[in-house]
C-alpha cells in the first residue's frame, strides 16, 4: 500500500511538472505557448479591419507562412498528440469495494496517419473492478486511395440492425471490433470490408467476425447499400479442448432518399440462426424538416435479431425506457419539435407504441416538453412523460429552472415527481437537485431522491453531494459523497442496471 501511495504521489508530481517543463523547453527554443499562436500569426492590420476581407487575408497569410493544414503536406509533419490522464478512487460502503483506477487515453497523428491508444482499468460502476489492460489501440492511414485501419475500431452498418459496433463507456458496453478494416471511398460509391474478432468487455471469449458494406449513390437524392456480417461465437467446450464455433450470417439492405425538406430511410435485414426460425428486422423513417418545425415518423419490426451485435433504433424516446426488444417487437412512433416564436424556445412532443407479434405485451409512451428562452438571465423547462407496459405504469413531471445571478454565480433547481405503479398500487417518488456554479470553474450539486411514500414500507432517501473543480482544458477534479439509487441507465438503445452506491468517489482528469 505504501509503494502504491509513493507511485501515486510521483504520478501526480510528474503530471503537474510536465507542463512547466514543456514551457521551459519552449522558452529555450524561442516558442510561445499555444494560446499565443493565433495572436502571433494574425497580423494586426488585418485584425483591425475586422471584416470578412480581413479574415480571408489573415487566413491566407497564415496558410502561406505557417505549418498549417492549408499547406500541401504541411499538416502533420511532426508527431502530434492530445489526451487525458485520469485517476479515480471510490469507496462503496455497501459492498466494501475500495478501488483505485487509472487511465491514459491519447490520440495522435503522424503525417497522414492517425491513431489512438487507451490503457487503463476504469470500470464505470463503483461495485465492479477491471484489470489494467490495453483497452483500445488503433492506427488509421491512407493506402493507395483507400483507408486502412488496424486495431480496435467502431463500425456501424446501416442503422444498427446488423451491426452496431460502438462503445458506450458509461454503460460498460463495448461492441467495437479488433482487426483490420479497409475502406474505398469514391464519389458515387463506397466499399468497406473488415475482418477481426469481437470480445465482450468482460473478455468472455472472442467471436470471429468479418463483414462489409457496399454503398452506391447514383444521384444526390438517392443512396442504397448492402451490408453483410458473418460471425462465429464460441460455444461451451470441455477444458483444454478446442472450442467449437457456431456460424451465423446477417445481411441487410438499406435505402435513403432526400427530397428538399423530406428525407427517408428504410432498412431490411435477415439473420440465419442454426434453428429454423431465422431472424428478420425492418426499420423505416420519414423526416420532415421545415424552418421552425421538425417531424419524424418511425416504424420498427424486429424478430430474433441477434442481441450481441445489433442495437437497432428502439423507437422509444424516454432515455430511461428507450430500448427495443430485439427478439420480438413491432411498433411505431413519432417525434415533433416546434419553435413557433422568434427565440430559442421550443416545444417537443413524442408518442410511441409497440407490441409483440401476437399483439400482446403492449407498451405506450408519450412525452410533452417546453423549453423557454433565456429572459432576464432566467430559463426553464418542463416535461411530462407517460409510460405504460404490462409491468410498469409510470407518470413523470420534470421541471428545471436556471438563473444567472451575475457574471459569476449561477443556480439551477430541478424537481421530478413520479407516480410509479408496478402492479401493487402507485408509489410516489420525488427527486430534487440544486446546482450552484461559480465562474465556470466550481460546481456544487446537492441532490435528494426519495421513494416509498404510499406503500407500507418506510420511505427511503438517497442524498448525494458532488463538487467539481475545473480548469478548462487543463484539469478537472470531481469529489462526490453520499448515496445513489440503483437505476436503469439507457443510451443509444442499450440499457444497463447501475448498482446502488453508498460512499465517496474522487476523479481527477489532466489534459495534455
Amino acid at each position: 500500500m505504501r509503494l502504491m501511495a509513493i507511485i501515486l504521489v510521483s504520478f501526480t508530481l510528474l503530471i503537474l511538472a510536465l507542463p512547466m517543463a514543456r514551457a521551459a523547453d519552449d522558452e529555450e527554443i524561442g516558442l510561445e505557448g499555444p494560446s499565443d499562436v493565433v495572436k502571433e500569426n494574425a497580423p494586426e492590420e488585418a485584425v483591425e479591419e475586422s471584416g470578412e476581407g480581413a479574415a480571408e487575408d489573415a487566413a491566407e497569410l497564415e496558410s502561406e507562412e505557417a505549418d498549417g493544414w492549408g499547406e500541401e503536406g504541411g499538416w502533420g509533419k511532426s508527431f502530434n498528440y492530445y489526451g487525458t490522464l485520469s485517476y479515480w478512487h471510490s469507496l462503496n460502503r455497501d459492498t466494501g469495494t475500495d478501488k483505485n483506477e487509472g487511465e491514459l487515453a491519447m490520440t495522435f497523428s503522424y503525417g497522414e496517419a492517425q491513431g489512438r491508444l487507451r490503457i487503463g482499468d476504469w470500470h464505470p460502476f463503483a461495485t465492479q473492478r477491471r484489470d489494467m489492460r490495453i483497452e483500445k489501440y488503433e492506427v488509421r492511414m491512407p493506402l493507395d486511395g483507400m483507408e486502412l485501419t488496424v486495431g480496435t475500431f467502431a463500425q456501424l452498418l446501416g442503422k444498427g440492425l446488423v451491426l452496431s459496433g460502438i462503445e458506450e463507456r458509461e454503460l460498460d458496453y463495448d461492441n467495437e471490433i479488433e482487426g483490420i478494416r479497409l475502406k474505398l471511398p469514391r464519389e458515387s460509391y463506397n466499399v468497406t470490408a473488415f475482418v477481426g474478432q469481437h470480445k465482450t468487455v468482460k473478455d468472455r471469449g472472442a467471436t470471429k467476425v468479418w463483414g462489409g458494406r457496399v454503398e452506391v449513390s447514383p444521384t444526390e437524392w438517392f443512396t442504397t447499400g448492402g451490408n453483410v456480417l458473418s460471425y462465429q461465437p464460441t460455444i461451451n467446450a470441455a477444458p483444454d479442448a478446442p472450442a467449437p464455433r457456431q456460424h451465423h450470417q446477417a445481411m441487410s439492405w438499406d435505402v435513403d432518399f432526400h427530397w428538399d425538406k423530406l428525407s427517408s430511410h428504410f432498412e431490411y435485414m435477415r439473420l440465419d440462426w442454426p434453428q429454423d426460425d431465422d431472424g428478420r428486422g425492418m426499420y423505416g423513417n420519414i423526416v420532415l424538416s421545415l424552418p421552425g418545425f421538425g417531424l419524424t415518423y418511425e416504424y420498427k419490426n424486429y424478430y430474433q435479431i441477434n442481441g450481441m451485435f445489433a442495437a437497432p433504433p428502439p423507437v422509444f424516446y424516454d432515455p430511461e425506457h428507450a430500448k427495443a426488444d430485439t427478439l420480438d417487437e413491432k411498433g411505431h412512433g413519432f417525434t415533433m419539435v416546434w419553435s413557433p416564436f422568434d427565440n430559442s424556445s421550443h416545444f417537443e412532443a413524442s408518442y410511441a407504441q409497440s407490441n409483440i407479434r401476437n399483439k400482446g405485451w403492449p407498451t405506450t409512451e408519450a412525452i410533452f416538453a417546453y423549453y423557454s428562452p433565456t429572459e432576464k438571465r432566467t430559463s426553464w423547462m418542463s416535461q411530462y412523460s407517460y409510460h405504460r407496459d404490462v409491468l410498469l405504469h409510470e407518470r413523470k413531471w420534470h421541471t428545471e429552472v436556471s438563473r444567472q445571478w451575475d457574471d459569476n454565480w449561477t443556480t439551477q433547481v430541478a424537481v421530478e415527481l413520479r407516480g410509479v405503479d408496478k402492479g401493487s398500487g402507485t408509489i410516489d417518488e420525488q427527486e430534487v437537485s440544486l446546482d450552484i456554479g461559480y465562474a465556470g470553474w466550481l460546481t456544487l450539486v446537492l441532490g435528494q431522491e426519495k421513494a416509498g411514500r404510499g406503500t407500507l414500507t418506510e420511505a427511503q432517501r438517497w442524498n448525494i453531494a458532488e463538487l467539481r473543480l475545473q480548469e478548462p482544458g487543463v484539469q478537472e477534479l470531481l469529489i462526490s459523497y453520499g448515496k445513489r439509487r440503483e437505476g436503469f441507465v439507457c443510451s443509444g438503445g442499450i440499457c444497463r442496471i447501475e448498482p446502488e452506491f453508498d460512499g465517496w468517489k474522487l476523479a481527477y482528469v489532466r489534459y495534455f
Binding site: G51, P291, T410
Partner: protein
C-alpha cells in the same frame, strides 16, 4: 501488489517519454464527417477559411446543450465575419439520430451540424458526454476546452473565442455593433 506497482511505474515512464519526445502538442486530428445538410465537412478544409474554429459536441436530448446553443448561434453571427467557424457535432446514436435533423431545422441554426453516430471523432477527442466545447486555431491546436455548460459560462467561452481570433475590446464592440445593425435591417 508489487506487480501492479511495477506496471504502474513502467506506465509512468512510458508516459513521461511520450510527453517529452513529442515535438508539438494539443493539435486535434483531422476528421471528415457528414452534415445534417448532406454535405461532407473536413476539419482542415474548414480551417482554411477560418482564423478560429469552435467545435461543440452535442446531443439532441441533452438539456445543458440546449442552453448553450443560442449562445453558439450568437457567436457564429457576431464573430463569423472575423473568421470564426462553428462546427457542432452530434453524438446521437441510432436511438435519437432521427430526431437530429428536424430539431436542427426547427432551431434555424446557421452553423453546420455533423453526425458522429459511431463516436469516431468523440473518441479521438476523448469526449465521453455532451456538451464539450473546444476552440481551435486554424492549425487545429486547442486553445480552449470545457466540459458541461451552465448559464454564465458562455462568457468564458466568448473570451476564448476573442483570444483565439486576436481581437481587441474595440474590435469586439464594432463586431457587435455591426451585428446589431444587421439584425435591425432584417
Amino acid at each position: 501488489m508489487k506487480r501492479i506497482a511495477f506496471f504502474t511505474a513502467v506506465f509512468m515512464l512510458l508516459l513521461a517519454g511520450v510527453l517529452y519526445v513529442a515535438s508539438a502538442a494539443e493539435r486535434v486530428p483531422n476528421f471528415k464527417l457528414e452534415g445534417v445538410d448532406g454535405k461532407t465537412y473536413e476539419l482542415k478544409e474548414v480551417a482554411k477559411d477560418a482564423k478560429a474554429i469552435l467545435i461543440d459536441f452535442w446531443e439532441v436530448n441533452c438539456k445543458p446543450c440546449k442552453k448553450l446553443m443560442p449562445h453558439l448561434q450568437t457567436y457564429c453571427e457576431v464573430y463569423g465575419p472575423a473568421g470564426l467557424k462553428v462546427l457542432v457535432i452530434s453524438r446521437d446514436t441510432t436511438i435519437t439520430i432521427s430526431k437530429v435533423k428536424p430539431f436542427v431545422a426547427s432551431e434555424k441554426w446557421t452553423f453546420p451540424v455533423l453526425y458522429d453516430p459511431d463516436h469516431k471523432v468523440s473518441q479521438a477527442l476523448n469526449v465521453k458526454f455532451a456538451p464539450v466545447t473546444f476552440v481551435l486555431n486554424n492549425k487545429g491546436e486547442i486553445q480552449y476546452q470545457h466540459s458541461g455548460f451552465k448559464p454564465g459560462q458562455e462568457k468564458e467561452l466568448e473570451d476564448a473565442i476573442v483570444k483565439a481570433l486576436g481581437l481587441s475590446e474595440k474590435e469586439v464592440k464594432e463586431l457587435y455593433a455591426k451585428h446589431a445593425a444587421k439584425s435591425e435591417g432584417e
